[in-house]
Amino acid sequence: MKYATTACLLTTSLITACKQDARQSAPEQSTTTDPPWFIDEGPSRGVRFTVRADLPGDGPQLPEIVAGGAAALDVDNDGWIDLYLIQADAIEGNVLLRNRGDGTFEDVTDGSGADDRRWGMGVASGDIDGDGDVDLYITNFGRNTLLRNDGEFHFTDITEDAGGGDEGLSASASFFDGDMDGDLDLIVTNYVSWEPQRELECRSRTGLLDYCAPAHYASPTTDVLYRNDLGTFVDVTEHAGLGNARGNGLGVLAQDFTGDDLQDLFIANDGNADRLWINQGNLKFVDRAMEMGCDRDLTGKEKAGMGVASEDLDGNGDFDLLVCNLHGESDSLYLMKNGRFVDTTGRHGLSALTRPFTRFGLGFRDFDCDGDFELYEANGRVSMSDPLWADDVYAEPNLLLRREGARFVEVSPRGGVVGQEPRTSRAAVFLDANNDGRVDVLVINRSSPARLLMNHTTGGHWIMLDVRDANGGPAIGAYAEVTTGSQTQQYRVRTDGSYLSAHDPRLHMGLGNTDRVERVLVQWPDGFELVLDDIELDAITRIQR
């Protein structure tokens, strides 16, 4: 009878548990008495921003549910990361926030020329003209915008003269040097060939009008590749081999996956197979996603690829890949092994952890400086839930996952934040806002205030490398190898990845208890190498070509 009693109690408690689950989706797995990793200090630090994501007209319209981007960049090269926030209502305009030099921000949009008032989606950052200032590319529903940084917190819209003004519904974009000619080219993902007249009627389970999945429109479109010709962006999509490849592009990153020093492109397609464009040189690409095993994971399903991340997770000297997907579909984690990707999502415990949520912005960073990557994921549905979180039927909690052996486990408190109220999150931008060597997160939320999650973890040494090119701009594409003891970890200077985001380009490495970095090798995209054997711990080191 002992068994019977236990079993009955168990099933009774299951009923109770189910009722709770229904209102919380995946239950938080541990108590919330653990100290927070992050505290939302957005309002007190001057980040007060809400993405409106409204289009004129009645009913849900596709772009509204996927908008919400932001960039972290050092606009004035003062060593402090500023913020650029993308608005999605074509009225209020984008917002430029200057870092006052202490991790607090002031709104300097007025008169900056950066208040692009188109219907904004995402942003990419990079020095396009070699003047050492970081420029911006804004993806919109409608014409995209290229903003040249003139210095002194002033930008000029140069799209009409310099190009890049694709007119589609664009999502993530990335600056990268695809032809190794020393300037930054540009890849822009396009989501759906959409216009308001194409909107459809889709309904939630309860019969309410809801957003449609992209497949309903059956209107995939092509991404656009621009070659930088001395500051002018020329559409070379056809020449590059991307012209016949339709998809529903949302996430993009440039990375060298084949070890040939050429930047390849991974594009996450919502509801279509993802693409891995292998760089053949001279800005020509061939899609090898299927052959390399990352077009779909082991489930075989063409999942709703959204945000993307790539780091050397297993420390074996090549870059691995993570794609996040829709509620009901797990993330897809691919580890590079002998030139092919192996789906290890389940083995790393990521399937069960991620499947209950719709993830968008994400990234691997060592938030607690213990020498191991954690994974942050910003979540929010694209179709109505049961009214779990009554104020926002698309809201979901964000996740912070840390490594425990080979597996990821959820950090408590959920999302690293005490009492995290679920929101409909989109971009997750990674930066060190106050230069304390701890990676902070800016999360953009639809119809509710953005969060600036300041990192309050303690312990563990770190270094941060601010790798610059010869002109003083971020050396996008530069490669760094950091050797501590018997371990060598590799990194690449990038601002892309996540979703609709442009990140702090500085390379952050947590070292745990290690108190010495034996060697840092930096290789710039032109092949120039520098070896440093005397890197100061717990400090930001600027390294210029």
């Binding site: 079993a7 060939s193 075989g300 399903k301």
Partner: protein, 463 residues
């Protein structure tokens, strides 16, 4: 495990009346959910309230909730049933509901209960294997999948699951051995091709891998689970009810279809999908004018909606085929072009356009449309063959030979592809090669009418 089995058996024998019966769970938003779904939910609730101790009533309620993705209510109903009248099926459905809720810990308990309950079914075992894979418990996944595969009742699902586990274990050779017979048995099973392709890829056999991965298509697993299928049959929302109209029309039960349509109009009010169904029904009944009127109205109201344009093109094509007439075919073409412009990602639009273009003798459009269709659905055997045929007939025999090569890479060689290759080689002026292939066809199928017809053609060509 044995303890739980005994306990479960004891619980099954408990008189249900002794167990306190909770109120059946009711969704908060019942009043506003899909009206068709609401009818079956309310009916099932009524049956439970009238027979609160009837296990069958609770099971039906759980199935209805599961079918409509009301996972919270499904889990609560099935949890009660698992307590008062457990079976392996009930525990498994309970686990599925918990899975929909994303509660992997409770799901594990429920599926373990299903396994412990026994019964001559492998479903709980292979489901446990899949879920263990998801939580990263590869060893548990392997144990469960091996047990399922070894079960005397095992069909195609069990080795397929084990093959997936072997892939996750980085044992691609074993995965390939397991899945190859399934691919032979079920050549249309995209997921089987997918697993085999991935196994071959991991084993370094790129060419063969590519062949299977291309055939995989959407590659969604089609596991055999009659319990879940039974639950799915309880679905009664708008989509399912609309499907009934189409099924009745296909069976030429037009009066029934009209009645169903009318009841849907009464239940759901104005919906464009209902108008579209009415247009289709009218056309099938021969009332072309009514069908055209409805489609015209739909196109006016929803100019960027693919279905009415495609439907219009289809109907005009059919009429043109039976009546002839350039006007009809030109109108069909306009409609098809509009449809493909609205939704270039829909393969059906391109196929329609290619058929219309063929009727018009517009070879270029026929070929380019089929090319688009093949790109959208590379797993469709018929499309790439049709594409090659259009190229051959359209004066591009060399390209046709290339496409046939790609087709045969994916689907293998058949008499149809060989004869088309012969035809293309002849057109390309490569008669010697054509003759060799034809002779092989003739040896293989000497009396096949297509072979005989080709023989005549070759004779005429002096070969």
């Amino acid at each position: 495990m044995r303890g739980i089995t005994v306990v479960s058996a004891v619980m099954a024998m408990l008189p249900l009346a002794c167990v306190p019966t909770p109120e059946p769970p009711v969704p908060d938003d019942l009043a506003t959910i899909d009206p068709g779904a609401r009818i079956v939910v309310e009916k099932s609730l009524e049956v439970v309230r009238q027979n609160p101790h009837a296990a069958e009533a609770w099971l039906r309620l759980g199935q209805v909730y599961l079918a409509h993705k009301m996972s919270t209510e499904a889990a609560a109903s099935l949890a009660h049933l698992a307590e008062v009248a457990p079976t392996a099926e009930v525990h498994t459905l309970h686990a599925i509901a918990l899975d929909q809720l994303g509660d992997s810990a409770a799901r594990r308990i429920a599926i373990n209960n299903a396994i412990a309950f026994g019964g001559n079914r492998t479903i709980p075992l292979w489901r446990a294997a899949l879920w263990a894979l998801e939580t990263g418990e590869v060893d548990r996944a392997a144990t469960m999948a091996e047990k399922a595969k070894a079960h005397p009742e095992a069909g195609y699902t069990e080795p397929m699951v084990l093959a997936g586990v072997r892939l996750a274990q980085d044992r691609p050779d074993e995965a390939a051995l397991l899945i190859e017979p399934i691919v032979q048995q079920r050549p249309q099973d995209g997921y089987a091709h997918w697993i085999l392709g991935r196994a071959l890829l991991a084993a370094g056999n790129d060419a063969e891998a590519r062949r299977h991965l291309r055939r995989a298509g959407d590659a969604l697993p089609d596991y055999y689970d009659p319990w879940e299928d039974k639950a799915e049959h309880a679905r009664a929302d708008f989509t399912v009810r609309l499907g009934q109209v189409a099924a009745q029309a296909r069976a030429r039960q037009f009066a029934h279809a009209r009645q169903t349509l009318q009841s849907l109009e009464a239940m759901y009010g104005e919906r464009r999908e209902l108008d579209l169904a009415a247009a289709t029904l009218a056309f099938m009944e021969g009332d072309h004018d009514r069908s055209t009127r409805i489609l015209t109205r739909l196109i006016k109201s929803w100019p960027k909606w693919f279905p009415p344009h495609a439907q219009k093109a289809q109907q005009l094509l059919k009429r043109a085929q039976s009546l002839g007439g350039r006007r009809l075919i030109a109108d069909a073409r306009n409609a098809a072009e509009t449809a493909t412009a609205i939704s270039p990602g829909k393969m059906e639009g391109w196929v329609l356009l290619s058929r219309i273009a063929r009727l018009q003798g517009d070879v270029d459009t026929e070929i380019s449309s089929l090319q688009q269709a093949v790109e959208l659905a590379p797993e469709r055997f018929d499309l790439s063959l049709q594409y090659a045929e259009s190229l051959a007939l359209g004066g591009q025999p060399t390209r046709a030979i290339d496409v046939l090569g790609e087709h045969e890479d994916i689907f293998g060689t058949s008499l149809a592809t060989s004869l088309l290759r012969v035809q293309s080689l002849v057109a390309a002026g490569r008669g010697d090669e054509a003759r060799v292939i034809f002779e092989a066809c003739e040896r293989q199928s000497p009396n096949n009418p297509q072979v005989l017809r080709m023989k005549q053609l070759l004779k005429k060509a002096g070969l």
